[in-house]
Amino acid sequence: MLSRRTLLAFAGAAMAASMLGAAGARAAEPIKIGEINSYTRLPAFTVPYRKGWQLAVAEINAAGGVLGRPIEVVSRDDGGKPGNAVRLADELVRKEGVVMLAGTFFSHIGLAVTDFARQNKVPFVAAEPLSDALTWAKGNRYTFRLRPSTYMQAAMLAEEAAKLPAKRWATLAPNYEYGKSAVAAFKKLLSARRPDVVWVDEEWPPLFKMDAGATVQALANAKPDGIFNVTFGGDLSKFVREGKLRGLFEGRAVVSLLTGEPEYLDPLKGEAPEGWIVTGYPWYDIDTPAHKAFVAAYRAKYDDYPRTGSLVGYNTFKAIAAALARAGSTDREKIVDALEGLSLDTPVGPITFRAIDHQSTMGAFVGRTALKDGRGVMVDWRYANGADYLPSDAEVRKLRPQN
């Protein structure tokens, strides 16, 4: 016979159990992070990039997630168009309810999402876009950038270029934000180190539509001693082929941005240029324990070697997890505060997101190209720490709008 007391006791126990159960279910609710990138436009970079961040997220979730919750990434393809990226960012924030945004590849797309982040007060960790404007001229409280900017990489290359005897320099860059930013930075930094340098020619082919023959011919006609190259992907392949055929590189120094990265160097196979001074990622030669562990994990999961994109994707999401943990909550303002000054360990060493301009101190590998076993590799390389190639705080304050 159930007395009223027993009934009440059972009801109380059942309610407590259900509340605990509900609390337990809420605790496992994933933290949604929005991710946008140009997957179809430059798959050479973005496919390894996606593998990289998927590896990072798998590792994070295997270790119990962040704040006791797993990370769920909602990823979208902007198809290489800034308008799409902004629209997708809107969808991710409003419909999917993501906590923050990450990704983008092209500099003009990065800038568009940077502006979106400012207007909608959403933290945005830009993984790859390199233009200086993201952290300086158009920088804002909500945007952070992982990769070393065009200024930083141009500084690393200008340091090497200044040691060469070359006095007459020509530049070749794709005609959009990234190319313009890179050439402006390199010219400023090299001329500062070597006031005797003369700029004899500038070529601005449209992105991925370069008329290689005519452009190489025009460069050769200017008779430079050194060439600064910013083209990448298909443009780089064309430039290397036509340049070699027309003898453009004979007796000339070539300083080239990003060419040492496997996604741009490997497709050239046996035609890879030799003796170019480049920034890149010699994954095959880095023997720190952290990096070896990263390569082993990547290989185990994908049966393929990592590219620069893999490292970028991996670092981006490890940084996001660290920021969430440091913030202790998914409140957007707290995440932004946590990202400022955040330090973490990566496969290529420790990095910090500077509070003054939200640029991370991730560096790049600087070296020379060479041919080995019929493939292009980087030799005589060193790791240039990003923190050493940034201008003084006073200059940064002038370059970045203070609000």
Binding site: H108, L111, T114, Q119, A133, A218, K238, L245, G247
Partner: protein, 447 residues
């Protein structure tokens, strides 16, 4: 001096590639009157197939390479026949726009197929054996392969001329280009004629792509990159005229080669400028002929009629519902609805100009852009509010249309469409380059 000569020859080599792609398009249009948007896809397929074959025949030296090129072109020709039989045959009687859409559908299918078969990365093809060095021309090195291209161009032109002027099939093709109805009335099997013409056009496009192997990396962007150029060359040369395509290709190739020396930023827009100038001066292209008979009875759009009382009530009710929505639905649904109505407005305006207006316009998006930029620049440079900006937008677009339209309405049919495209591209490239006013390729942020 040697530099001028070498640059001239470089221009000729680019012209040869352009010509190969464009002449196939010109032939297809001349006979079937179909604007074949999938032509770029044939070009890309030719490059991909030739790449695979060349790698397989790598041990066979020069024979292997050129064999791969020809086999690749033949494979694309066969694919062209497949497209014609399966897709286009059913829609010859349909309005021009549907045909364009159908060929655009083929473009999308080919894109996905290429991605699935060859993967997303750029592939660098092999060099032509025996032609992978450079020879000295007046002291400057010039690639041997470019010389081969300069020879291939006129050779193909010559072969085509022989084909069209010395064979019965060629006579039929030329007759069909002039007057399709009469050819049909005289009992020629039109189906077979169209299919064979399509085969030839696709073969030439595939050849154009295959021949690029030593010069360019093969990528999934090739089709969209080349199609605009091919159209421009065909229109400038005169649709249906192979010699015109050759002339136009040489003109554009040389202007590009020398243009970048004078004005490096002009590469983006040069060929559209040329097209605009040529079309204004010679409305049917350099060697084109005015169409002697309309290709088919144009579909007559009924004029717009004022709505009846029931329709008016329905619209008023719908309007009331829309006004109430912001209080009722979620934020994101509102955003989607806004986008839907923006597109609906654009579609209605396009329908107005193409249907009741009867003018096919490929450059309509330019006015969309002009309106957007007009409003954005007003806000950014003059600090105006939303209402004045919204009012200014259609005025800005209308002013642009007045300017472009003055040139465009003197033409008709596909030439009108191409001239509107030319002006749209010019407007685009001005906006793209004029960094200080329009923000360049970054656009105007933070409006």
């Amino acid at each position: 001096m040697s530099f001028v000569v070498v640059q001239f020859l470089t221009g000729l080599a680019s012209a040869a590639s352009l010509f190969l792609v464009a002449c196939g398009l010109s032939i297809i249009f001349g006979v079937t009157r179909i604007v074949n948007f999938a032509h770029g896809s044939f070009y890309m397929l030719g490059a991909y197939v030739a790449l695979t074959l060349a790698e397989r025949f790598a041990h066979a030296g020069a024979f292997g390479f050129w064999g791969a090129v020809v086999l690749g072109a033949l494979a694309v020709g066969a694919f062209g026949v497949l497209v014609e039989v399966v897709v286009l045959r059913r829609i010859y009687r349909a309005p021009e726009l549907f045909q364009l859409l159908a060929t655009f559908g083929v473009v999308l299918v080919v894109q996905d197929a290429a991605l699935a078969i060859w993967g997303p990365e750029d592939l660098l093809g092999p060099r032509a054996p025996g032609l992978d060095g450079a020879i000295d021309i007046l002291g400057a090195p010039f690639p041997e392969y470019d010389l081969a291209l300069i020879v291939i161009g006129p050779v193909v032109l010559g072969v085509l001329w022989l084909l069209f002027h010395r064979t019965r099939w060629g006579i039929l093709v030329r007759a069909a280009t002039q007057d399709r109805e009469m050819v049909a009335a005289l009992g020629v099997n039109q189906r077979w004629l169209f299919t064979s013409v399509f085969f030839l056009g696709a073969f030439l496009a595939g050849l154009g792509g295959a021949v690029q192997l030593p010069r360019e990396s093969v990528s999934l962007l090739m089709d969209l990159n080349i199609i605009a150029e091919a159209f421009v060359v065909v229109v400038v040369g005169g649709m249906g005229s192979v010699a015109g395509a050759f002339l136009a290709a040489v003109l554009i190739g040389e202007l590009n080669a020398f243009g970048i020396l004078v004005f490096p930023d002009i590469t983006i827009v040069l060929m559209f400028l040329v097209m605009a100038v040529v079309l204004v001066a010679r409305p049917w292209g350099l060697l084109g002929r005015p169409e002697t008979a309309p290709p088919r009875a144009p579909t007559v759009e009924p004029p717009l009629e004022p709505a009846g009382p029931r329709a008016r009530y329905a619209v008023a009710a719908g309007f009331a519902v829309l006004l109430a929505l912001p209080w009722v639905v979620a934020d994101f649904t509102l955003v989607i609805l806004i986008e839907i109505f923006i597109f609906a407005l654009f579609a209605a305006s396009l329908h107005f100009i193409m249907g009741p207006g009867g003018m096919v316009s490929f450059g309509h998006a330019a006015y969309f852009g002009l309106g957007a930029y007009g409003a954005a620049m007003l806000v950014q440079h003059l600090g105006a509010g939303m209402e004045p900006a919204l009012a200014v937008a259609p005025v800005a677009a209308g002013a642009g249309a007045l300017l472009f339209g003055w040139f465009c309405v003197r033409l008709s049919g596909v030439y009108l469409a191409m001239l509107t495209l030319a002006f749209a591209q010019i407007a685009w490239s001005v906006a793209f380059q004029w960094y200080d006013v329009t923000g360049g390729d970054n656009g105007i942020l933070g409006v």
